[in-house]
Symmetry: C2
Subunit: 236 residues, 2 copies
DNA sequence: TCTTAACTGATAGTAAAACTATCATTCTTG
DNA sequence: CAAGAATGATAGTTTTACTATCAGTTAAGA
């Protein structure tokens, strides 16, 4: 039996719920494709409208502006990811194994082995993942972070962070930097992936050819090393 | 005797060398102030021109566009920082102490003790630092990274990274992730500082009141812990 | 089924941003 | 003092980022 993951989004993230209509759903789905293809700054509501055969003004009925669409997509991804973390670690007793699962989820590794579909709810997860890598930090690196934060726009990110921090504390009770460790883990996973692809001189890994021998992902190895060396280190 | 740090910039970073004229220097100096005040996306060449009493078109003679100005400012900062790292670690024999200095430099800590002026060459270093924290990743998180990289726009960042990686290897010969460790150290320092200020739920530190008891910077402690736990960990 | 509300499409518009072009003026510098 | 470089001033173009209006279509309720 299959369950549908219902990702219930904060109302502040949109003007009209895009999941409530066919057009809304297409705005989100095609928005993902377009943003993944041409990037956030090159994307415009006009281009998106043309692509889905509607008008700019119709898109504005759903999202206040392009930035809010980005925030929505990223928030959706964080909620999806938190659900996956919850689900994948639920049945485990070994908290080290939980952290291992989290590492793989962050890199979107071994999805088939983890029984994760790449198209939940028709959302293209790998495309979203690449948007998160390239654009997610633009969601909060603005001069209006504080107001956006007040509207709870970043709650999904914080929730994911809290959940990971909780597992960190389970693995290593009393660790004094659980939250920072969680947020830096997430961020490091993403921009190291970006550097690996686009600025390899900033990393020690080459781009991975697709379909390579699994379990030999150098970025995963690096993240594992970073995480566990910090958690396994002497008393606090 | 005082030496002037000559930061020689890559020619690809500008159309006309801004350090070669009074107007150019004002564009850069006031550009720093304006961008620090209102942020990258809110800044326009018109606003900058108004501020310094010139015209948009004059600014375009120096920089192709706003993004290039950002890349220029960030590159300047990386070059300045690399010079500081070089200078501050030069006389030291203990490589652990070198890494300690680097941590402080990344957080722009204890400048006076390190004999660093906050206004090198009339550049407002703390303002630049806050730009780097908030905006630097926008310099490379674009769909034209590859072309920009080909033009060597990110060389100063890579050079800084290499220098830190070199010191890491000095401290821990054979460490297999020197570059990634260096780049993740730099990035972590910056966005943890951002989170601390604007999204404190993602960290374990509060905002630091200015003029607090020195040597009790929790972010510095966290970074130190992360760095040395990874470097001091078992064989590779 | 009729009515009304909700939604979308279509058109049209504005304000500002992001440039480009031109030319006169001023300021150097040989 | 003549030539060249830099700047100021003005005026444009194109694109983005929106807003407004209204007609038509669809859906839902009485």
């Amino acid at each position: 039996m299959e369950y549908t993951v219902v990702v219930r989004m904060n109302e502040k993230l949109f003007l009209r719920d895009p999941e409530g209509s066919e057009l809304g759903r297409r705005i989100v789905r095609q928005g993902i494709q377009l943003m993944a293809e041409i990037g956030f700054e090159e994307m415009t509501f006009r281009k998106l409208a043309d692509r889905i055969g509607t008008k700019e003004s119709s898109i504005y009925r759903y999202f206040e502006n392009k930035h809010r669409l980005l925030v929505y997509l990223v928030a959706w991804y964080w909620q999806w990811l938190e659900y996956q973390v919850l689900f994948q670690t639920n049945n485990l007793t070994d908290s080290r194994e939980k952290l291992e699962r989290i590492l793989k989820l962050l890199l979107l590794k071994d999805l088939s082995q983890l029984h994760i579909s790449t198209a939940v709810d028709d959302m293209d997860i790998p495309a979203l993942h690449s948007i998160v890598i390239q654009e997610a930090s633009k969601a909060y690196l603005t001069h209006h972070v504080t107001e956006d934060n007040r509207e709870q726009l970043f709650k999904p990110y914080k929730d994911l962070c809290s959940r990971i921090a909780g597992i960190i504390l389970e693995y290593r009770p009393g660790y004094p930097y659980a939250r920072s460790r969680a947020s830096s883990l997430i961020e490091t996973a993403h921009y190291q992936a970006f550097f690996m692809q686009h600025l390899p001189a900033l990393t020690d890994f080459g781009v991975e050819p697709p379909g390579r021998i699994e379990s030999k992902d150098p970025l995963l190895t690096f993240l594992r090393h970073l995480l566990f060396s910090s958690l396994d280190t002497a008393r606090f």
